[in-house]
Symmetry: C2
DNA sequence: TTTTTTTTGACATATATTTAACAAAGGGAT
DNA sequence: ATCCCTTTGTTAAATATATGTCAAAAAAAA
């Protein structure tokens, strides 16, 4: 079905489609046209049709798209029809926030292990999951078939830990540390650089104020 | 100096430039050419020159760019030469994580107030800042000249709270709730949709595995 | 000094992304 | 059944973004 390379621009929009389709589904809406969805989501109908068409004909002329079917298919494309096992490295506030965020579990992202360097934290429990010392990282990943490593540690430790994760054969790293990781091809990295995001906000505040003057 | 509209694509790259320039500055590097920076940052030299040039000639032919000057100027463009006062609405794990993240303070983002609905949390302190009840939101913003509201509450409450923030004349909202906010023109919104980010990661894992086969 | 080398800024080209337009498919009404 | 209306999938055009090239400016070397 899907053959040609899909641009990251399109992929980046899929989760938002999924969210709106999920809401429509919950409201009991059976079908929707690109035009109506475009009105709800504030994007062009043309873009919606083009995006959906990358993955094969989900729609039907004169009818529109079946909400449930479309929801399922986009979920499959995003790979959330399968479960992903993850560990969180760095059980500070952010690590704990993520460990406690149940919505990930609903999407099939299962928190299987927590790791921290600090001996005062190791041994404690977070949402029923014990915090393990860093020494156990390699053995735990090997024994528990972990796909994703979540890095919520300060930037200083991020690169060495990412190397350890890569050496264990981890498939992906969700990186909250404020550095760029270097990983071999085939290991996926998704960065969440919160301060970058905040600076963009700051830029837009300043820009708007300048425009006013 | 800066007149024409700068694309968000360029703006999105500025924080990363700032990060690398800051590191170079700390290492005592005085000047750098687009070519060398391109090697370090893994982008084309052409893009770097084009980006920097949007904001006026920072560089000098035959010499390159002065690291310190460039760092300062990009900081100014991003508006981090000024301080921003912010409040965090929703003192769950994520709200606390952000409240405790000192690096924002170093960039001039000052956490001035914390708010929560839950009476068990209000009255407690987080990093020396008292958690206030939601009823005090309007008066606090008015009296403390708050620029940015950080929304770290579940999606259900996000839209009504965003309306209250907008009515108080807030300039910007940093939105961690998993909904799209509707705000009037002139109020800046920056979304951090963590589950979207995780789904992109999931897509790339799946895509790579399909490619291998 | 003069020459050579480096390196920017600008422009031209290539690529990517978004939007517009429309024929053809199919639903729904008569 | 037939016609009309809706709506897709697709192709074309427009826009945006990224890359390549090079003259000219300035530094460094001779």
């Amino acid at each position: 079905m899907e053959e040609k390379e899909i641009s990251q621009a399109v992929i980046g929009r899929l989760p938002r489609y999924l969210r709106y389709l999920g809401e429509l589904k919950d409201e009991g809406v059976e079908r929707i046209s690109s035009q109506e969805l475009s009105r709800i989501m504030n994007v062009t109908a043309s873009q919606i049709r083009q995006d959906f068409n990358h993955f094969g004909g989900f729609g039907q002329q004169g009818y529109g798209y079946n909400v449930e079917y479309l929801y399922t298919e986009i979920g499959k494309i995003l790979g959330i029809d399968q479960t992903h096992k993850l560990i969180i490295v760095g059980v500070g506030h952010l690590g704990q926030a993520l460990a406690n965020y149940m919505n990930f579990e609903r999407r099939g992202f299962l928190v299987r292990g927590l790791f921290d360097q600090n001996p005062e934290i190791t041994g404690t429990m977070v949402r029923g999951i014990p915090v393990r010392p860093m020494e156990e990282l390699e053995s735990f990943i090997g024994e528990n078939d972990i796909d994703i490593g979540v890095l919520t540690i300060p930037k200083e430790g991020a690169i060495p830990v990412s190397k350890r994760l890569v050496d264990c054969g981890i498939k992906a790293i969700w990186n909250f540390a404020h550095v760029d990781l270097e990983v071999p091809d085939g290991v996926q990295v998704e960065n969440v650089h919160l301060s970058d995001s905040l600076m963009k906000l700051s830029y837009n505040i300043t820009r708007f104020e300048k425009e006013q003057r």
